[in-house]
């Protein structure tokens, strides 16, 4: 259900993805509060996973998000296979990475073209952008479609893939099934490179964040579906130690938990990935980044659009490489007999690091579950940025300030249902 009509006074939507507001309090020229208020009701996934079988977890957690279901599936099967001491094997791992590349391409294209680019070009939305620049928006839609084509070919469908399971895939595609995909991806790679050139020409406010950054790192390649957790300041630990370093806590103004890394605010996502892992990018992605004026690190959140574009190049080229080297996994999955114990899984969702932890009983029942999505982890850092930004921009009227705050929030591509779609700014000037 998507129809919101003035005449019909639609009061609720079936596919609602999230609502948030921002509250800013200014007194005597001082910003007392800048709160990203997430008031969407909690979704209780961790609670209703209890008592389900370990083989059901990927299908259930995939429903957490329609934009990044593969991220939820991946962190889940990483955790379950960790608990059960099973490795799905290299051929399955390659196919999983291909699937995840599809999600990155699709999600990044959506954010770059439909959500973020209008901010830089002075349009209220992508529809207004499309009226003046039809070819650009068509390019974005083509890219998104190429990402979706991977998800459909490997995962069975673009949203909430159904061909995936703990241990691997119900059916692995034959190499011949992937040939038409490769043709589409060669065009997508060209579109992705053109996207980098295009967004690199935008005007970027001069902002530099000094937050701690957290991302996965995988020796020899840009971490997506696997890796150890690494911070920009040199911290490194396996997924199993995540909860020793990251503590979630409640704030009164949000139904999504906030998180601290060893006591401080931190950021996950494209800026963290790029800053920590730019050396692991493939030559074509590194070249695109250099051409776009990115150095080895990027701490300007407005430039996250360039990093997403570079990551889209990486994902398209990586998908082509995997297809080129593809060997159909036989069998298409490993058996994962249940083992009593605890498993941890991490992966790099398009919006950042996603952690899952499951405690299993000997018969495979889930005894407890913990899911820490990227948007939760980023909330405190987003609020800190908003506070700084508002402090430096108090001369603006409410409308201009709202616009700037919205841009700031969109830099982080937050997904509230995973953890602001409808931003309602209240400035209290006392």
């Amino acid at each position: 259900m998507t129809h919101r009509s003035r005449q019909l006074r639609v009061s609720a939507l079936a596919r609602i993805e999230g609502e948030g507001a921002l509250r800013v309090v200014v007194q005597d020229g001082q910003v007392l509060a800048a709160e990203l208020q997430i008031y969407e009701p909690p979704r209780f996934f961790e609670a209703f996973l209890r008592g389900r079988q370990h083989t059901e977890v990927t299908d259930i957690t995939s429903r957490i998000c329609g934009i990044c279901p593969v991220a939820y599936q991946t962190s889940a099967w990483n955790a379950i296979e960790d608990a059960c001491g099973v490795s799905a094997g290299d051929a399955v791992a390659a196919l999983r990475r291909l699937l995840y590349c599809g999600e990155w391409i699709s999600s990044h294209a959506l954010h770059i073209y439909m959500l973020h680019a209008p901010d830089f070009l002075g349009y209220p939305d992508a529809i207004a952008l499309a009226r003046d620049h039809r070819d650009l928006v068509e390019r974005g839609l083509r890219l998104k479609k190429a990402g979706n084509a991977i998800l459909e070919a490997v995962g069975g469908r673009a949203i909430h893939p159904v061909n995936t399971r703990v241990g691997g895939f119900y059916r692995a595609p034959a190499k011949a099934d992937l040939v038409p995909l490769a043709e589409q991806l060669r065009h997508a790679l060209g579109d992705a490179l053109a996207t980098v050139t295009w967004v690199a020409g935008f005007d970027f406010p001069d902002v530099n964040l000094d937050h701690e950054l957290l991302a996965l790192q995988d020796p020899g390649r840009y971490a997506i579906e696997h890796g150890q957790v690494v911070s920009a300041s040199g911290l490194a630990f396996p997924a199993a130690e995540f909860s020793r370093h990251v503590a979630e806590y409640q704030v009164p103004h949000s139904t999504a938990l906030h998180a601290r890394l060893d006591g401080g605010a931190y950021l996950t996502g494209p800026l963290a990935r790029y800053t920590i892992n730019s050396a692991q990018l493939s030559p074509i992605a590194r070249q695109a980044a250099a051409g776009a004026g990115l150095g080895p690190t990027c701490r300007n959140p407005f430039r996250s659009i360039v990093v997403r574009a570079v990551e889209t190049v990486y994902a398209a080229a990586e998908a082509l490489r995997i297809i080129d080297e593809y060997e159909r996994p036989e069998p298409s999955f490993a058996e994962v007999p249940p083992v009593a114990g605890v498993g941890h899984g991490v992966s790099e969702a398009p919006r950042g690091l996603l952690y899952h932890r499951y405690q299993l009983a000997g018969d495979g029942r889930i005894e407890s579950a913990a899911i820490v999505p990227p948007t939760s982890q980023n909330q405190a850092a987003i609020e800190a940025d908003l506070r700084d930004l508002v402090s430096a921009s108090l001369h603006l009227d409410d409308a201009a300030l709202t616009s700037l705050c919205e841009r700031t929030i969109r830099n982080y591509d937050p997904c509230i249902s995973c953890s602001a779609h409808f931003l309602d700014l209240r400035v209290e000037r006392r």
């Binding site: 529809i127 499309a130 039809r134 997904c415 779609h421 409808f422």
Partner: protein
Amino acid sequence: MSLPRAVLIGIGNPYRRDDGIGPALAAAIEQLRPPGVSVTISDGEPSRLLDAWSGAPLAVVVDAVLCDDPAPGRIHRTALGAAPAGTAAGRQSASASTHGLGIPDAIRLAEALDRAPQRLVVFAVEAADIGFGPGLTAAVGACLPELTQAVLAELAADPPR
């Protein structure tokens, strides 16, 4: 294969009770195989809607809606040549994200990209229950024959030239 004369798009989720009216209608039309009609079930994601109706002279879309002061099973029909200002499709989007783009946004985007069907007819069916689970409520299920006839009549009408 020639391009279809018309596309019928049933939007919704059959596991959310009455939100399944779009897919249920699509299944009913599929069985009747009206000539020149391509039938699609969709989650309503705009780029896929655009792909489904691009190049079609006529697109008929069926979706569920929730209304204040509801009359479950009531059918609303809206025909759009071009979306006039003030209608749902003509309004500015109030959303700051793309997760929540709906049919009106999809129509506006299609128009901006010159990929709107020449004629678009939307049937909106008032829902009683969009909670979890399969199966339509009695009131919404009861409107299916009338809705099927109305959609068939729409699909049988002369295509726009």
